[in-house]
Amino acid sequence: MTAYLLRRTGQALVVVFGVMVLTFVMIHLVPGSAARASLGTRATAERIALFNAANGLDRPLAAQFVSFVQQAAEGNFGTSYSLHQPVSTLIAQRLPRDGVLLGLSTLLALSVALPMGIFQAVRRGRVADHVLTVVSFVLYSMPDFFFALLLVAVFSVQLHLLPSQAPQAESVAGILADPRALVLPVVTLTLVSVAGFSRYMRSSAIGTLAQEYVQVARSKGLPERLVLRRHVLRNSLLPVVTVLGLSAPTVVAGAVIAESVFNYPGMGLLFFQAATSKDYPVMLGSTLVVGVATVIGSLLADIAYSLLDPRIRYVDA
């Protein structure tokens, strides 16, 4: 397993470097855009040149890239044009809040989707399977923002059950102290993920159920419930774990929408506001952080996979 993990980590480092190159290239895609964004579109050429010199934007690209990498490694992404705070501080404030939102909703989504997928696989082709299939298709096909606003319309505006705005507290503890306000954003993100995960689990479980070892387990006299729990669940989980790692970007995309609908002060909202105000340092800093987080996420998924699958765990033991 060590060899596998070493190789996998090596790949992840290559990808992190790639993400840096990509973000760096994007800043320089439109020359002078950073200055214009900061100084306004009517800024004079002299002021732009001054700005570029002050920010080191007039140096050769290679040199700029080296200092970009150096600064990024130190966690220095510059200062926000619009919020006038170090980007690293802004990100450090918001990242834990996303941990709460995305962690909760992913956990919830998995605990609904996995049993649902297996249930559908067992009942394949029967009424319950068809009904759940239709439900997950509709959920999957709904624009996230529409779904979120629909929930607000029903549960906040009509029924007055839940607040329409997410908790605004600074700290994680403060956010958790207001669970009612957390319900709608978490439910939105959960249900959107449930649809995708349960489809994967269903097709994976259908594949597992056709395996010979499932028949062997039955031939031992094992009740179906135990066959599912002991032999089908873990084997069907394996491909889903990989999908989970790959779905990190989708989850983040959902977060951008959900955070702007519910005004949840996380990375998604920060990024969105930065994009609308052309706040480049914030955009690039958060892109880099999100990219690295995604790489780590899929690396973690692969580690989980290798722990779940003894064929990888014991390959060179």
């Binding site: 060899a3 062997v216 031992k220 094992l222 084997n235 003894p310």
Partner: protein, 686 residues
């Protein structure tokens, strides 16, 4: 007292989208304690479905219908509530499945999987179940069972996994063991070991056993009575000896006759069974075998024969035969090599010298341990005369497929050369190599993956001509028709897709494609091992006929010694990347010098009960060592009954045992010719 197991009027239907498949139709038999009943037939005849019906483990849509009855010790199992049935399953009746690679849960330890059934049925503690698991794993011959309880299935070889599966089935000392093709996925050497193990356990535990198999040799050696099944029904049912020597059903007769045997006269065509088994969604009226039967009359096509005869011998046939077919009356095909003796050619068609091929072990470059490699081929040489057929045999993992790929230029050796007609293939590159490919063609094993499913057969057969730029479009079309005729397929077959053909027909298409470029050599890698017995004979006959008419050379790679014996003039026996013995077919079969060759031959089951039972021992013990760390000296020494110290220290050289007969052994079974240095021996083998 009722028999241990009594099956009456068992009828199993499976509802599918295409209609209801009558997989098992009115099958009745009994089984007594301590006996082994064989269920024999080709794929799709209902033998596996009979086994699954007894276990109550039918696939979705499957059900036992009518007055089907399965009684264990007088207790009816059909219609029993699932709860009660589960107490029988794995406890009173247990099953061993075919494929040891897919039958074990990859995420659970073998200890867990064996103990699971014990825990379930015996209501004992976990520790007791683990003890029992270690005990049965020891019983089935797993070395150091207690230490291996924590092993995962992928850490074991196929043979050991099959032993684990048997241990799982035996854990609760069932009274009936159903073994569904338990050795089909294994090498002959391991097959012999597993079958001996099953026989020994049956005797020791006093179980009754149902052995489901398609292999007449396995049937001959390991059953007391046999039910021959055809198209879901029992065609013939009798004692094993009587079945082989006094069969009454023409199907049994043809089935036995179409199996190539080691003592077969290779000059004779194999008798074949024409056509295919009927579609069980709509079985024909009358006798189901009538369409393929040489004795069929109008009555067979309209009236269905009942099982008749005495209790000792029942058969369902209107025109019963009496005993086996006389030796084939079909005229012998003159073999190319007999017409033109190979010694006449001063230059071989193909010459391989000192081929070495090593593959790095996947993904495991651990710092400090260096690069680990699989030694697939370690210095193999061979020569092939024009028109000759060379057979390559050996257990899986011996390097025969790697050698085949090197010989046709699909892969390149690390060192060594392959020379075709005086041209070194290793020096050819790009366009030149692609042009040269027309002389070398390959016939593949799997008829389902060797033809592009998205191309029509006409396109498949034209493709080699298009690539090599041979002929105009019209000429190519004519050539396609010619090729189809040559392999016995209708011309309109060109318009069809591969999936519209049966396995045997696809294998013919594969052969036609190989012939399209009129090659000098065809390498056939396991050409018939994916086919049913009756179809196998058709393809083998065709290969022989085409060789004679085209003056082709073949290299036939097969794990089946009888197939190689039937096709080959000379045979090479491979072991762990080395050629251990080369000789004429008779040298190998009658005068084997290497103990490995002798053991391999002994392990091949022969379709003759007397011969099979007279065998002592199983041929070769143990399993193939890892090709990553092959044993020093003679690689076979770890499994050789004759091995001595010298075998570990010194690598044996090839020595000459007769004209063209060489073997590499320090203590051979035959007397070598005096003082022949290795080099001379290799040269003489030409």
């Amino acid at each position: 007292m009722p028999p241990l197991l009594e099956v009456r009027n068992l009828t199993t239907h499976i509802r599918t989208r295409r209609g209801t498949v009558r997989a098992v139709d009115d099958v009745s038999f009994t089984l007594e304690a301590g006996e082994t009943l064989g269920l024999v037939g080709e794929s799709g005849c209902g033998k596996s479905m009979t086994g699954l019906s007894l276990m109550g483990l039918l696939p979705p849509g499957g059900a036992m219908v009518g007055d089907s009855s399965v009684a264990l010790d007088g207790r009816e199992l059909v219609g029993l509530p699932e709860r009660d049935l589960r107490r029988v399953r794995g406890n009173d009746i247990a099953m061993v499945f075919q494929d040891p690679m897919t039958s074990l849960d990859p995420t659970k330890t073998i200890g867990h999987q064996v103990a699971e059934g014990v825990l379930l049925h015996r209501g004992c503690s976990r520790a007791e179940a683990a003890d029992r698991a270690a005990e049965v794993l020891g019983l089935v011959g797993l070395p150091h069972p207690r230490e291996r309880l924590k092993d995962y299935p992928h850490q074991l070889s196929g043979g050991l996994r099959q032993r684990v599966l048997i241990a799982m089935a035996l854990a609760n000392e069932p009274r009936v063991l159903i073994a569904d093709e338990p050795t089909t996925a294994l090498d002959v050497t391991i097959q012999a070991q597993i079958l001996a193990l099953l026989a020994d356990l049956r005797a020791r535990l006093g179980m009754a056993m149902i052995l489901i198999t398609h292999d007449m040799g396995v049937t001959a050696g390991h059953t007391d009575r046999v039910n021959v099944m055809y198209a879901g029904r029992i065609a013939e049912s009798t004692g094993t000896d009587r079945l082989f020597h006094g069969m009454r059903h023409p199907y049994t007769q043809s089935l036995l006759a179409s199996v190539p045997r080691l003592d077969q006269d290779p000059g004779k065509e194999l008798p074949t069974i024409p056509g295919m088994p009927p579609d069980l969604t709509d079985p024909p009226g009358g006798c189901r075998f009538a369409g393929r039967c040489r004795y069929a009359t109008d009555r067979c096509r309209t009236d269905e024969p009942e099982l008749t005869g005495s209790d000792q011998h029942r058969y369902a046939c209107w025109h019963p035969t009496d005993g086996p077919l006389p030796p084939s009356a079909t005229a012998a095909v003159p073999r190319a090599t007999e017409a033109a003796a190979p010694a006449v050619h001063d230059r071989p068609l193909l010459e391989a010298r000192g081929l070495v091929r090593e593959f790095p072990v996947r993904g495991a470059r651990i710092p400090g341990r260096g690069r680990r490699v699989v030694h697939a081929l370690s210095g193999v040489s061979l020569e092939l005369a024009p028109g000759e057929t060379f057979g390559l045999v050996g257990e899986s993992g011996c390097g025969k497929t790697t050698l085949g790929r090197l010989l046709v230029g699909l892969d390149r050796p690390d060192t060594g050369t392959v020379t075709l007609d005086g041209t070194d293939l290793g020096l050819l590159r790009g366009r030149e190599l692609r042009r040269r490919r027309r002389d070398l063609q390959m016939m593949f094993q799997d008829p389902f993956s060797s033809l592009d499913p998205r191309m029509r057969v006409g396109g498949i057969l034209r493709e080699p001509l298009q690539i090599q730029g041979i002929g105009t479009a019209r000429e190519q079309k004519a050539r396609v028709a010619e090729l189809l005729a040559e392999v016995g397929l209708p011309e309109r077959g060109a318009e069809l897709y591969p999936h519209e053909f049966s396995g045997g027909q696809r294998q013919r298409i594969g052969l036609a494609r190989a012939l399209a470029l009129t090659p000098k050599l065809i390498v056939a890698d396991e050409p018939v091992s994916a086919l049913d017995v009756s179809v196998r004979a058709q393809v083998l006959n065709l290969m022989n006929r085409l060789q004679a008419s085209h003056g082709l050379s073949y290299i036939v790679i097969s794990h089946d010694l009888a197939v190689v014996r039937y096709l080959a003039d000379r045979i090479g026996v491979m072991y762990l990347g080395r050629m251990v013995e080369v000789g004429s077919a008779d040298d190998i079969h009658l005068r084997a010098a290497h103990p490995y060759t002798a053991g391999l031959l002994k392990a091949v089951p022969v379709p003759d009960p007397q011969l099979e039972r007279a065998k002592l021992g199983t041929g070769i013990s143990g399993e193939l060592p890892s090709p990553v760390d092959p044993p020093s000296g003679c690689r076979f020494r770890t499994r050789c009954p004759l091995a001595r110290e010298r075998c570990a220290d010194e690598e044996p050289a090839l020595r000459l045992f007769g004209a063209g007969h060489t073997a590499a052994c320090h203590f051979p079974l035959q007397q070598p010719l005096p003082d022949t240095p290795a080099k001379a021996a290799t040269d003489a083998s030409a």
